[in-house]
């Protein structure tokens, strides 16, 4: 009797560990596509100007140099990323580097970050927008093929 309950406890603990691990994976593994915009932002009457050039570096890797009205994108695993920006306000001016820890809402697949607004410290609803991809019109083959293959293909 005792060993039976003991093995049940061990099994339940094992299952619990797996469930917790799964939940952990759900939290840390969420993938996002983040778009960075370098454009002027209007919010509550005030306009935040866009600098001449922003160099976007995410997690240590340089993504792109954004001039005004340009956009770049990066994919990231997890809700947090380290954003380094090298900002050049005027053409030929000096560059200032700042490091931020950007947090993205867990539920959104794609987000657009307005960099000038973000750097100005505006609230999230100002600089963050959900990215909704245009519905793709590619015509995928309608019906799945009848699986009559005998193994001609790669393994």
């Amino acid at each position: 009797m005792k060993t039976k309950t003991r093995s049940w406890i061990i099994r339940s603990a094992f299952v619990l560990v797996l469930v917790l691990l799964a939940v952990l994976m759900l939290r840390i593994g969420r993938g996002h596509t983040i778009y960075f915009d370098n454009r002027a932002l209007e919010y509550q009457g005030a306009t935040t100007a866009a600098p001449y050039k922003i160099t976007v570096i995410v997690n240590g890797e340089q993504i792109s140099k954004l001039y005004e009205k340009e956009r770049c994108s990066v994919t990231n695993i997890g809700d947090k990323l380290e954003l380094t920006v090298e900002v050049m306000q005027q053409k030929g001016g000096s560059e200032t580097t700042s490091v931020y820890s950007l947090k993205v809402p867990h539920d959104l697949d794609g987000v657009i970050i307005n960099l000038p607004g973000y750097m100005a410290g505006l609230p999230e609803e100002a600089y963050l927008e959900e990215f909704i991809p245009a519905p793709s019109t590619e015509k995928d083959d309608e019906a799945p093929p009848t699986t009559d293959d005998i193994g001609l293909g790669e393994v």
Binding site: A143, T146, D148, D149, I150, L152
Partner: protein, 359 residues
Amino acid sequence: MGNTTTLGNKTKLKELLDSFGLPRLIIAGFLLLLLIAAPIVGLDFATQITNIITRFSWNAVMVLAMVPMVHAGCGLNFGLPLGIVSGLLGATLSIELGFTGFTSFLVAILIATPFALLLGGGYGWLLNKIKGGEMMIATYVGFSSVSLMCMMWLLLPYKHPTMVWGFSAKGLRTVISLEGFYDKALANFLTIDLKKFGVNLVIPTGTLLFFALLAFLMWAFLHTKTGTAMTAVGSNPAFARAAGINVDKMRFISVIMSTWLGAVGILVYEQGFGFVQLYTAPFWMAMPAVAAILIGGASVNKASIGNVIIGTILYQGIVTMTPTVMNSAFQMDMSEVIRIVVSNGMILYALTRKTERGR
């Protein structure tokens, strides 16, 4: 007195039910449902019947090919592709040698026969060496031979323009049209065409007569001395051996018969379908035949001509009616899934039943 008879009737019904098998009842019921649904969803009933009869005529001979080996205790002939390959060789060689029309059909059978005898002989010899594991090995012998022939179809020196690839003139095409050859050779013989009476019913009498001939020959054979010996080998090998019957020889003969029927079967199928399908097509052709005979009531070691007829009608009925009815009714085609579940489920059911004599 009265009570006992009613009780007796009840168990008899239950017995009938058990022996008929629940899956078969379900399948027969399903087919009935489809047939009733057909006119309701706007399909022409007569056309459906025509389709079922036509497909029956194409497939029945291949299902008949299952009978000899089941009788001899060699299990379900998953190695039917060997017979099919013989038939394909007969078909292609018949065309290559320049025969056309109905003659090409006869010549195809003629040429296929020695191949069937040869391949069936080798196959039968092999099966005798591995009594007990026939079905699995049969499957893989079938597959190996089809893939070997895939290479052969590319390499053999065929030259006939209707068969080889246009560009390089080397190697056979995947699908060869039989127009001008034996397309509908049997089906057009004595066809009963009710179209002129306004009913969309066309019965390919020629093919049905051909099948009836072969079925009759099979039935007759099973009642000869050799035939009964073969059945004895399948149902009780110990008794057969004790009675002095050469078990190996009986099995050998059954395999050759099965292979030859498979060859003729594919030729009959081709004349109905109108095309010769090479390369990977024969790969999967054993399963429908096996499923059909199982649906008809056969088991791993018991099969009758009645099983063949009922089974082919039920199986082909479901395979033809499901997509058409479902498409008309729901705009959704689940026929593929149903076909897979029905045929493989049937085979699984047969494999998991306790056999009459334990193996």
